[in-house]
């Protein structure tokens, strides 16, 4: 378990580091939330400076960071000036939707890419493999913005799916089940966009690592013993081939979170994306910092999950055989 313990300590250090980095960046910022107010002749400079001191913006960097740390320990993560409320509840109400999108996207990604990757590797050089390879390298190279805008154009043009928001405006009268259906149908497009981009990457890696494992002596031995093709692939090859792909999990989570930020803005999904974009545009620094911290937290959590899965999958980590490296 010391393996996980070390990972946890590392994660904590990482989060503190990210927060320090954020505050260092705020030092660079030339403007603040109240800059727009300064243009308004009806607000006196005194009012603005009193507001600044009320939110602690006139303090030095160290003092501000100390205050922020204290509020972070109280699970507030600072105070949003635009919303006049603590940051954490604001973020959390949106983060649920982002997490819903990202986890669904991730599940779907793995559901699609594991069979495709294994299958393509098992039939390497044939039609299926070639088409999977071409499609995945095309999807990897096309930027997510383009995929999102193009799919949205198709969907909106032919009214395939409802788009925008989580539910329709008049969702009050709907039953629980109808609401769920509504949310699911609106979630479909963003999830598909996310899955397309992510699974292309995973399929490529999985295919490569399965191909590598297929060449090893133990697979040939297993084949010689007469183990069936399906059992061989999914019981014997996949667990070995999966471990490099699992260590990609954290990486692909980063992609999913970035992607979902983009997709949320484009599809109008009420997640973190639109909130942080608005905060960026209105220079609501604590909200932006909160958003960055939350994304870092997700990443750290995702990497921990990946570590646990690796621990379960790869006995070499349990026995410490890899620590020598």
């Amino acid at each position: 378990m010391s393996y996980l313990g070390r990972r946890l300590i590392r994660a904590a250090f990482l989060l503190v580091g990210v927060s320090i980095l954020c505050f260092l960046f705020t030092e660079m910022a030339p403007g603040s939330f109240f800059d727009e107010m300064r243009l308004n002749p009806q607000i006196s400079p005194e009012t603005i400076s009193s507001l600044r001191s009320r939110y602690g913006l006139d303090q030095s960097l160290v003092v501000r960071y100390g205050r922020w740390l204290r509020s972070a320990l109280h699970a507030d993560f600072g105070y949003s000036i635009a919303y006049n409320a603590p940051v954490a509840p604001l973020l959390w109400s949106r983060a649920k939707n982002t997490l819903l999108l990202a986890t669904t996207g991730m599940l779907l990604t793995w559901l699609v890419s594991i069979p495709l990757g294994v299958w393509a590797a098992a039939r390497s050089g044939r039609m299926l493999d070639k088409s999977v390879r071409v499609a995945s390298s095309l999807l990897v190279s096309i930027p997510e913005v383009v995929i999102a805008v193009a799919l949205l154009a198709i969907v909106v043009r032919w009214r395939v799916l409802p788009v925008g928001g989580m539910t329709s405006m008049d969702d009050e009268g709907l039953s629980q089940w109808a609401r769920l259906q509504e949310i699911a149908s609106r979630m479909l497009l963003p999830t598909i966009i996310l899955t397309l981009g992510e699974s292309a990457i995973i399929v490529r890696h999985l295919r490569a690592s399965v191909l590598e494992v297929l060449d090893t002596p133990f697979v040939q031995a297993a084949r010689g013993l007469g183990i069936g093709r399906m059992r061989l692939l999914f019981r014997h090859v996949l667990p070995v081939a999966a471990s490099p792909a699992i260590s990609l999990l954290g990486f692909s989570l980063a992609g999913l979170l970035s992607g979902s930020l983009l997709v949320e803005v484009i599809c109008g999904w009420p997640g973190l994306g639109p909130l942080i974009l608005d905060a960026t545009l209105s220079r609501d620094f604590y909200l932006v910092i909160g958003g960055i911290m939350l994304s870092a937290l997700f990443m750290v959590g995702g990497n921990l999950v990946a570590d646990i899965m690796l621990l379960a999958c790869d006995p070499r980590i349990r026995t410490g055989a890899l620590d020598a490296r």
Binding site: C22, P143, R157
Partner: protein, 337 residues
């Protein structure tokens, strides 16, 4: 193999030359508005009129009717090649008036239609591409410069230097890039002159991206620094800087080239995403991102498919670069290891 490489080079050179000479290739001034022709569909090239065939294509003018635009067939305008037109600055320096093609006034040729202000989408895709691709390339250079310096230093000196630098990369890699990008962008001024925005964007994108190349470079340097010829050069009294520059850097070059081909499209996408959100290059200067951002209105997205042209241009650029990256990867990196 050779034919493939040749066509790749042709595509690369063609793409960049077209963008570099955008003023010459584009028939119109990318900023010139025509309030009478908002959202006009792409101009059709005709070869056949009522009487006969023509070798030289010609166009009709769009006229606004009760149900949209229709071609006004009373007068036809032949397309001229290498003709005079609106003045522009070639490569940003030379005053020039020559265009690859164009039609006589008052007709206009808009190969990809026009946007909401009646500006020629084709000319804007080209001049926006200049901005977006240049931003991508500049940011890549910056990221690779920073990444290779830190990576070489970390790998070469090892110990504490290595650990602190790699800790820093971990910090940068622990954030989803778009959150990071938005965050850093949030702390910088929103409204700037186009030139300063461009500079700022490339700096931000490049500085966020240094971490991954730095780690990759470090990996190679770790194995390179104990090679015999490096040890030999050190025993002759070569200084650290000399060793890094003369013996270690060449080992890394293959990786850097491959990374460059990988990163350019990614950073183009980063610039496009920021401009799409309204945080990057602003109107009236065109960039693929702010051109696409008009599509955030569903009504525009549905009705005017030709406004997706910048997206298509991005796809072409990204695909060319990713083929380049694959080619470089198989040629350079497998040879060196």
């Amino acid at each position: 193999m050779r034919a493939k490489t040749a066509s790749l080079i042709v595509a690369l050179v063609g793409l960049h030359l077209t963008l570099l000479l955008a003023g010459f290739v584009a028939p119109c001034d990318p900023g010139a508005q025509d309030r009478d022709l908002p959202y006009a569909p792409p101009t059709r090239l005709h070869f056949v009129d009522a009487s006969s065939w023509h070798l030289r294509p010609f166009v009709y003018r769009w006229s606004a009717g009760p149900d949209g635009y229709f071609e006004n067939k009373r007068q036809s305008f032949p397309v001229h090649f290498l003709t005079g037109g609106p003045a522009y600055k070639l490569l940003g320096i030379f005053e020039a008036k020559w265009h690859l093609f164009g039609v006589d006034e008052p007709a206009r040729i808009a190969l990809l239609g026009t946007d909401g202000f009646g500006r020629d989408e084709f000319s804007r895709v080209l001049s926006g591409g200049q901005i977006s691709v240049a931003a991508g390339i500049a940011a890549t250079l910056l990221a690779l410069l920073a990444g290779s310096i830190f990576g070489i230093v970390a790998g070469y000196y090892g110990r504490l230097t290595d650990e602190s630098l790699m800790g820093a990369t971990e910090l940068f890699l622990s954030l989803p890039w778009l959150y990071f990008l938005l965050g850093v962008r949030a702390f910088l001024p929103l409204h700037l002159s186009p030139a300063r925005t461009f500079l700022l964007l490339t700096c931000v994108i490049g500085l966020i991206g240094w971490a991954r190349p730095a780690r990759l470079v470090r990996g190679i340097v770790l194995s390179a620094r104990s090679r015999n010829y490096v040890l030999a050069a050190r025993s002759f009294g070569g200084s650290d800087v000399y060793l890094m520059w003369r013996h270690i850097l060449p080992e890394v070059l293959g990786l850097l080239l491959t990374q460059a081909a990988l990163l350019v499209p990614r950073y183009i996408a980063a610039e496009v995403t920021l401009s799409f959100f309204g945080l990057g290059v602003n109107e009236p200067v065109a960039s693929w991102g702010n051109m696409l951002s008009t599509l955030q209105q569903y009504s525009v997205l549905v009705s005017y498919a030709w406004l997706l042209a910048p997206a298509a241009a991005m796809v072409v650029t990204s695909v060319i670069y990713s083929i380049l990256a694959d080619t470089l990867h198989s040629r350079l990196e497998f040879r060196s290891t």
